[in-house]
Amino acid sequence: MDKKTILRSLLVVATLVGITVLQMCKPQAPASVSGSDAAVKAYVPPGQYDEFYNLVSGGFSGQMSVYGLPSGRLFRVIPVFSEDPTTGYGYSEETKAMLNTSHGYVPWDDLHHPAVSTTNGEHDGRWVFGNANNTPRVARIDLKTFRTSEIIELPNSGGNHSSPFITENTEYVVAGTRFSVPVGDKTDVAISTFKENFKGYISFISVDPKDGKMNIAFQLKTPGVSFDLARAGKGPSHGWFFFSCYNTEQAYTLLEVNASQKDKDFIMAVNWKKAEEYLAQGKGEKVKARYARNRYDESTHTATSEMLTEVLQLDPAVLKDIIYFIPCPKSPHGCDTDPSGEYIVGSGKLAALIPVFSFTKIQQAIANKDFEGEFAGIPVIKYESALHGEVKKPGLGPLHTEFDANGNAYTSFFVSSEIVKWNVKSLEVLDRVPTYYSIGHLCVPGGPTRKPHGKYVIAYNKITKDRYLPTGPELTQSAQIYDITGEKMKLILDFPTIGEPHYAEAIPASLIMPQSTKIFKIEENNHPYVAKGEGQAKVERKGNEVHVYMTAIRSHLTPDNIEGVRVGDEVYFHVTNLEQDWDVPHGFAIKGAANAELLIMPGETATLKWKPLSVGVYPFYCTDFCSALHQEMQGYIRISPAGSNVPLKYSTGKTDDTAAGAGR
């Protein structure tokens, strides 16, 4: 071969290699992203709004987060059950009462399930409720302000997992205990007396349709089992409630093994209209209890806490026809009613099938007394009599089901890490997509309502190995959005979430945006320490308490020079934000404060308590970048020794040392 031939052969080879390179450089899409339009479907151009709000539980962060869909952009983290130094929630004098319980001040909890209020079974955009799993409580968040308005504690509950679930017109927010516990006068008992002494309770919390105020209307005393999740009936089944129960073995140790003995546990069907009838007949029993209710008042910008002392109870073992059990395979987790209200889907988390029950058949079975026996005095309906049918071999470990408006169900499978789409009537599996990885809850916008908005299903995943840049031993939890407008589900976006997401709801932006609060009107501020103008700013001493009535407006604090305060004093900075302009909060922080900052909304008053421990001049400043002169928004407080005679004085813009020229 001559040189030319060799070179030519080399070039031919190189060309082939080149073609291969061309193939290799194509973007390597994951197998599940079919089609190149995924990015377009999740893309919301800068300056444009998302179509949906996604209200996502923060799990062990105790908070709730707000994302946009389909972009996955995070807008806000709403402090609910955990202190939040960012906003001062739980730190300011006004918000501390929100975290009061019968166990005292509890600064943390575990929020699993948001529930958006409904009217006629459809989203109304007024409130979102959330549960505290650990120290049993239910919170109501106002969707005008995206702030926690009320928290009510649940007596006789061991752990509030099965919560909150709402009836069609938000008549009730319902909460079931995860841990049955001994209650009443007999609580110091041996754990091994579980069967005898441990009881489960379901709380029906009434919601005032006018202002959302919560009150425990009644509790149902149930056998000692664990309640997991629930849904209210709707349409024809309105007036009923369906709870999944596990540990019907009534195990009190090593539940991993001992609560999985039976091949079936129960769905508990509750006729709450019947319970209301008994209550109207005076059959409820007032029982002593101790539980806190904390409400935030928007007019005083202050929360107050009250301790309630009794609760009304009904005993369904005595008062017949309130509850019935329906056998359901293998430790049911999710229990979801479809938009029509006819079908109830039980998801046995250790099962490889999904039973779908029929409300009509349940009613017939009750009428015909088609029972297989009793459990702790409660009738158990025959499985076959209540069953519409089973989805066979859908996957492994079904957890939760949401619905679209076209008669389809979407079920998450934790063990096989996938979402399976199936038809509710025909029970036929239509499609399946993998999730990355270990999906828990899932959400279709409007999925639990009578009128699902559809469009997307969002998976909330526990494990994200290989999905995100690693951040040490713990990786971010995540959500994944799938487009469900076609026959096949299509993954269009991954996005990280705060805390550990459990359930989430998504609601059209149009239902929330128009009534979003912009400012609090200063003339309507009834805070006892408000200063409605700089003329009202002052400092008052009451014994060793010093109250600073401070105002904040772009770009100064009034007063910004304070003297005559001593070591041993307790200083309360009551800061009123005088702004009447949307999106202009001011912040307040002082050196050495043992709590947090304040973040004060326009027209609001908030208070930071500060105990100076040593002599000196302490700076304070605005923490929120409010204006071009934000960095100038500051002041000083002089702390003199205990017993000092320095007179109390305060000012802003007053320069005493004209000779030196400072401030000139």
């Binding site: 450089c25 009447q580 949307w582």
Partner: protein, 182 residues
């Protein structure tokens, strides 16, 4: 052979070249809603621009702000102290001045003049002292006088004031012209 070499080079270039994903094309430079000044908000206090826009006495000033593309700037967080000449004040300018200033090629000059009417800071009347010098947004100084409760800036009379969400507007009876550059 040369053709083959060229083809090879081309392939390399194409193969790992730009892989721009087609996304929903949109003009991301222009705000979708038309900018901060167009945010629909009937609840908040009016900002300094809205005060001027809603005043029948300041149509010339508003036109000038629009020509200078300053409306959104003055809707910002501020804080601003704006000295707002009335229509009559603009009328006092030599004939043709305004027409010249509002020509596109004179935008910089117009901006400088408008900036000479803006102080970044919230100067409420109680903070103003007689003979006080303030440095305006144009970086030129102006002098405030306060005698017998009467407020003037560079000799122009303050006719009234209005508090806006992001600052204060002082209505004045003359257009302020920055001192000549030396």
């Amino acid at each position: 052979m040369r053709t083959l070499l060229l083809l090879w080079l081309c392939l390399l270039v194409i193969s790992c070249g730009q892989q721009k994903t087609e996304t929903a094309a949109s003009d991301v430079t222009a705000p979708v809603g038309g900018g901060q000044s167009n945010v629909k908000d009937d609840v908040s206090q009016q900002d300094v621009v809205k005060i001027a826009v809603n005043s029948t006495d300041h149509t010339t000033l508003v036109t000038a702000l629009q020509v200078a593309e300053y409306v959104d700037v003055l809707s910002n967080a501020g804080p601003f102290t704006v000295f707002a000449p009335t229509n009559a004040a603009f009328d006092k300018l030599p004939a043709g001045t305004l027409e010249t200033l509002t020509k596109p090629e004179n935008k910089d000059q117009l901006r400088t003049i408008l900036e000479y009417h803006v102080y970044v800071g919230g100067l409420t009347e109680n903070l103003i002292q007689d003979g006080m010098t303030i440095n305006m947004a144009s970086l030129h100084n102006a002098t405030l006088n306060k005698k017998d409760g009467k407020l003037t800036i560079n000799g122009a009379n303050v006719l009234g004031s209005a508090r806006g969400s992001n600052g204060i507007v002082y209505i004045i009876d003359a257009v302020l012209l920055p001192p000549e550059e030396k």
